[in-house]
């Protein structure tokens, strides 16, 4: 099985080196592709310093465009599994094997590293919790299956999913929509409990104003899903 870890990174010079190193350490058989999403800092050089393969985007496309670049690359290079890991160090690389195992055993087409399936140590602000809860309920309702951590960007996906996401992937705030989009197209999804750390460097891309837009946008696109049979 050929496995590719896709790390979207926008201005993550402080953390990207360590993220790459720790993935190498815990999963030596996994190839890594860093997608430098038009960073203004030294993300590219830091990733290169770690000896990593980097796809540098000429412009900032946003997280969705960056992640999709990874899926396109995975599709073109015949990877069987793609695993998406944040560049800020929130995701514990030791959980990669957990996610991959789900796919390898064909228990699901997509595995999501979830903070809330079991009580894990993740703590967050009240507003954030309300948002996460809301989307969990909404997605569960639309998919008629319970999902807990819909905003987690820590996920592994098999060939079928890679091909699906190479074709279409939401542009901004993609995590929640991607679940519904995939689910409606026959992707089996399973959540796996993982621990997430505080970010190691950089800043969250979501400001209060943006979070309002986030809520509205994601809610609307969830309710307005494209027809399944369309192109």
């Amino acid at each position: 099985m050929r496995i590719l870890a896709v790390i979207p990174a926008y201005n993550e010079e402080k953390s990207i080196y360590n993220v790459i190193k720790s993935i190498r350490l815990s999963s030596p058989n996994v190839d890594i592709a860093v997608i430098d999403d038009g960073s203004k800092d030294n993300t590219y050089l830091e990733a290169k310093r770690a000896g990593c393969f980097v796809i540098k985007l000429a412009q900032n496309l946003g997280i969705g465009g960056a992640v999709q670049t990874g899926y396109i690359y995975a599709k073109e290079n015949n990877y069987d599994i793609a695993i998406q890991v944040d560049g800020d160090g929130q995701h514990n690389p030791e959980d990669i094997s957990k996610l991959i195992k789900i796919i390898e055993n064909n228990e699901a087409d997509m595995a999501i590293g979830s903070r809330f399936v079991d009580k894990t140590g993740y703590r967050s602000s009240i507003m954030r919790k309300v948002g996460i809860d809301f989307f969990s309920k909404l997605v569960s309702m639309i998919c008629r299956e319970n999902f807990y951590d819909t905003t987690s960007g820590y996920r592994a996906i098999n060939r079928k999913g890679i091909e699906l996401f190479a074709e279409y992937y939401p542009k901004d705030y993609p995590e929640v929509e991607a679940i519904v989009y995939a689910k409606k197209r026959g992707i089996r999804i399973k959540e796996v409990p993982v621990n997430m750390k505080e970010r190691q460097g950089g800043r969250s891309s979501i400001t209060p104003m943006k979070s309002i837009y986030y809520m509205i946008k994601v809610t609307c696109v969830l309710l307005l899903q494209p027809p399944t049979k369309a192109r």
């Binding site: 997608i35 393969f53 980097v54 796809i55 540098k56 985007l57 000429a58 412009q59 496309l61 465009g65 999709q68 670049t69 396109i72 690359y73 073109e76 542009k171």
Partner: protein, 112 residues
């Protein structure tokens, strides 16, 4: 000068300008269709004063030329809507291009 003559001159001018830009291949033919049809529609309307007045009273507009303006505004709204569709499509294409260029560049250099 009555508003109908004014409208007529304006529409004729517009039609002429549109044709000129298409002829010079500055304006894509696809997008000119919309402008040409607006111009022609306005030309016809401004020549048929009675028709416009009948239509206006049918929708309870007392000042008939206002009906003319209404038609113009509706056309423009439709056009802007169409443009946002075109922009969205372009945005998708630009994203795909950026991704492909990134992948190409990464494999052409001594990147591994």
């Amino acid at each position: 000068m009555s508003v109908y003559i004014f409208c007529f001159i304006l529409s004729a001018l517009f039609l002429f300008v549109t044709m000129y830009f298409v002829k010079r291949r500055i304006l894509e033919f696809k997008y000119s269709i919309f402008w040409v049809s607006i111009s022609i529609a306005m030309l016809i309307l401004s020549l048929n004063k009675d028709f416009v007045e009948k239509m206006a009273s049918a929708v309870d507009i007392h000042y008939a030329p206002a009906f003319l303006f209404l038609i113009g505004i509706i056309f423009i709204l439709l056009l802007i809507f169409y443009f946002t569709i075109v922009i969205s499509d372009m945005q998708r294409k630009i994203i795909r291009l950026t991704q492909e260029v990134g992948i190409l560049k990464s494999s052409s250099k001594d990147n591994k």
